[in-house]
């Protein structure tokens, strides 16, 4: 019954789509389903080879990225004192937009599949790491007590209790990781590979081949969703009681003094510089393209260079901030609206969860086609990237309202609006802030990718240009700057989050 209705809906949507395409036969905007099918059948060999290449890279990246995540998470659990350093470094690397690390990996790895795989790994490790750390911790105190009573240490606890207990969480992470790995591989191909769907997409966009762009976007999104569905199937088979989504709640810990925190930041910065220099020297990388901290410092000390960088950054932020805010407001707003009609919310939830997983970047070329290469197109891409995760998290957050509180309001005959304002929106806030925090790197990734692909402005373009002119100082400076912006914004959102949650969800920020 429900399936039949869904099928009818899909059929209807396809008909409308086809109709729209028929109305403007020469449009560079829309290709109808029949045009797309015709393109796919006409170029099946080429598309199949490209899809295989991209999928292989995604799978390899998925494997390595998740392996790294598991290793990091186990390390953090076994050596709890290392947690903040490991988490901070992991976050820092995660904050570098993939499109920024792409060109650097390209010069380090050369033209092969290395960068695509590395980017796919980078796209997945952090979310899996977060989910797994939560999972490995999600055991009751009495289980660790039990292990202690038998004189067993952290390692036994990890093997006997934590691994199995964390499985549902691991699968939540893996499921999000599947389409993300595909996204990483695609972005790797945008930054100058020789084969793959990303390469074809770039070519189709530059040649204004509408049918090809649509066909490639359809294939990419379908493959990413296929990965999501496969891991989802495995998840429901192995861990039927897995949580549907996980929020990355702020780290619970003691409130640290300002001086401790400043010392921490100084220590971390020093560590990053040492690691950066050390790794470059260790692998004896050519200083022509593998720039060291001192090179970058010298480069940005020059006012002209700094001005170029800051102007580009200004342009980028002018796209990113409105898109980010629009995505958040629309996501939270729709979640609130849906809360007022609970049956609609229940019906839209699965769709929203699925759409959240579509790597928006794979459809970015379409959005560029639809909304143009200017401000609107880019802002829409950023907003869409932020919108779905926010919507899902907020809907989930509203559900966290304790049933007794809802009953209490109802027993006083309070209106829906009153319930919403006094109970449901406060219950939603932790989820909203968690997704606002995680959306910072996502928004920067979206804006730089859109710039790289289309707009001709901003730091994404600067990177694209410098990658082809071999101005590696500029390229590295862009990466450093983007990373700084991402970390600062992330920290800023966390700061607001802690202040707000201290009032509305004090149990979460102990």
């Amino acid at each position: 019954m429900a399936l039949g209705r869904t099928m009818l809906g899909v059929l209807f949507a396809l008909l409308v789509w086809e109709g729209l395409a028929r109305v403007q036969p020469n449009s560079v905007l829309i290709s109808g389903p029949t045009d797309i099918l015709a393109y796919i059948t006409g170029h099946s060999g080429l598309l199949f080879r490209a899809a295989t290449e991209t999928s292989m890279n995604a799978v390899l990246g998925f494997f390595w990225g998740n392996l790294a995540a598991v290793a990091l998470a186990c390390f953090v659990i076994l050596v709890p004192k290392s947690e903040w350093v490991v988490s901070a470094l992991a976050l820092l690397v995660f904050c570098i937009p993939l499109i920024a690390s792409g060109p650097i990996l390209r010069v380090l790895f050369g033209p092969g599949a290395g960068p695509q795989i590395a980017l796919a790994a980078l796209a997945v490790y952090y979310t899996t790491f977060l989910a797994l750390v939560v999972g490995l911790r999600a055991i009751s105190q009495s289980w660790t007590d039990l292990m202690t009573v038998y004189g067993r240490g952290r390692l036994s606890t990890l093997f006997v209790v934590r691994f199995r207990a964390s499985l549902p969480y691991l699968f939540v992470g893996l499921q999000i990781a599947a389409p993300a790995a595909f996204l990483g591989a695609m972005i790797g191909e945008f930054t100058g590979a020789e084969r793959g769907l990303g390469v074809l997409t770039l070519r189709a966009m530059r040649g204004l081949q509408t049918d090809a762009t649509w066909a490639l976007a359809a294939i990419s999104a379908s493959l990413a969703m296929l990965g999501y569905a496969c891991v989802g199937l495995l998840k429901s088979k192995l861990t039927p009681h897995a949580p549907t989504i996980l929020l990355s709640t702020p780290r619970v810990g003691q409130k640290r003094a300002l001086t401790t925190r400043i010392l921490g930041i100084v220590f971390l910065s020093a560590l990053v510089l040492v690691l950066w220099q050390g790794l470059m020297d260790l692998f004896n990388l050519n200083s022509f393209f593998a720039k060291r901290p001192a090179d970058i410092w010298n480069f940005v000390s020059n006012t002209t260079n700094l001005n170029t960088l800051l102007t580009a950054l200004g342009e980028t932020l002018a796209y990113a901030i409105p898109g980010y805010l629009a995505g958040l407001v629309l996501g939270a707003g729709l979640a609130i609206a849906l809360t007022l009609w609970p049956c609609v919310a229940r019906a839209t939830m699965p769709t929203a969860i699925t759409l959240r997983a579509v790597p928006i970047i794979t459809t970015a070329p379409l959005l560029v086609l639809a909304f143009g290469r200017g401000l609107t197109g880019t802002v829409v891409i950023v907003a869409v990237m932020v919108f779905f995760p926010t919507l899902v998290a907020c809907l989930q957050g509203v559900r966290q309202t304790p049933m007794q509180i809802v009953d209490l309001f109802e027993s006083y005959g309070a209106s829906r609006l009153k319930l919403l304002r006094s109970a449901q929106i406060p219950a939603m806030l932790p989820a909203l802030f968690a997704s606002a925090r995680m959306a910072v790197p996502a928004a920067l990734l979206a804006v730089t990718t859109a710039e790289w692909l289309a707009t001709g402005r901003g730091i994404g373009v600067l990177m694209a240009l410098t990658a082809s002119t071999s101005d590696y100082n500029m390229l590295w400076s862009c990466v450093v700057l983007l990373c700084l912006v991402a970390v600062t914004a992330y920290a800023g959102v966390s700061w607001c989050e802690k202040r707000v949650l201290r009032v509305y969800a004090s149990e979460q920020v102990v």
């Binding site: 009751s140 009495s142 007590d145 039990l146 202690t148 009573v149 038998y150 004189g151 006997v160 209790v161």
Partner: protein, 246 residues
């Protein structure tokens, strides 16, 4: 076999003093019940003997060893207030875990399953059991490693009255046979008198010993013993000490 000696132990949590300068010895191979008002520090004593907490000052020794040393060679077992079974393991495998962790053979699993009345449920998972059944599985888990020191922290709280009676009848012979030094924290005065050789009544926080009562009842008749005048006399003695604490 080793007795347990706690000498002038002191423990505070934040600013509340749970124990101050408490000294108790527990004889080897005997069962001692700790009773006292809620929050008086009974569980803290148990947790310190289990090596889960360390006293701020003072010493705890099991024989010549520290609790951690005994724990490391599998000589300790504890049943907690909640069953704390691993949900992905079956009843049998949860019980066997006690032996696994203590690095001892798990050849008595089926006997213990019978003993705690879980026959027919060996291959069920905890989610399929009632609260009382889970608790019985946890008790079986604590017995399978044949520990020298057995710590029971209100383990019968969630068990229904009939089963509780059965466990009260069947368990003491078992730990007497194993010559286990058993400590039992309970709220039930009857249970304390019925199961133990000795009942210690503690005052509200910080815990002091209000009464230390040797229970000498002829053990073979324990089930019907609850109605005997002898039993009632001990129970009254414990109750009187508890009332005094208020």
């Amino acid at each position: 076999m080793a007795g347990i000696s706690c000498s002038s132990i002191r423990k505070s949590f934040d600013r509340t003093e749970a124990l101050s300068e408490l000294s108790i010895d527990f004889q080897s191979g005997r069962t001692t019940a700790l009773v006292g008002p809620s929050g008086c520090g009974k569980s803290t004593i148990l947790r310190m003997i289990a090596g889960l907490e360390t006293p701020d000052t003072g010493q705890i020794a099991i024989g010549q060893e520290t609790p951690k040393q005994v724990a490391r060679r599998g000589g300790l077992a504890m049943a907690f207030q909640d069953a704390s079974l691993l949900p992905w393991r079956t009843v049998r495998s949860n019980i066997a875990l006690g032996a696994e962790l203590a690095r001892k053979p798990a050849d008595r699993v089926d006997d213990l399953i019978d003993l705690v009345g879980l026959d027919g449920f060996a291959d069920h998972r905890p989610a399929e059991l009632s609260g009382g059944m889970r608790q019985r599985a946890a008790i079986a888990r604590s017995l399978i490693s044949e520990p020298e020191v057995l710590l029971l922290d209100e383990p019968f709280g969630a068990v229904d009255a009939i089963t509780r009676r059965r466990l009260n009848r069947d368990l003491p012979p078992l730990w007497r046979e194993l010559q286990t030094t058993t400590l039992l924290v309970t709220h039930s005065v009857e249970e304390a008198v019925l199961l133990s050789d000795r009942v210690i009544v503690l005052s509200p926080r910080p815990a002091r010993i209000l009464a230390d009562i040797q229970v000498d009842i002829h053990r073979e008749s324990t089930v019907s013993a609850t109605t005997s005048p002898e039993f009632r006399a001990f129970a009254t003695q414990v109750l009187a000490a508890l009332e005094e604490s208020e």
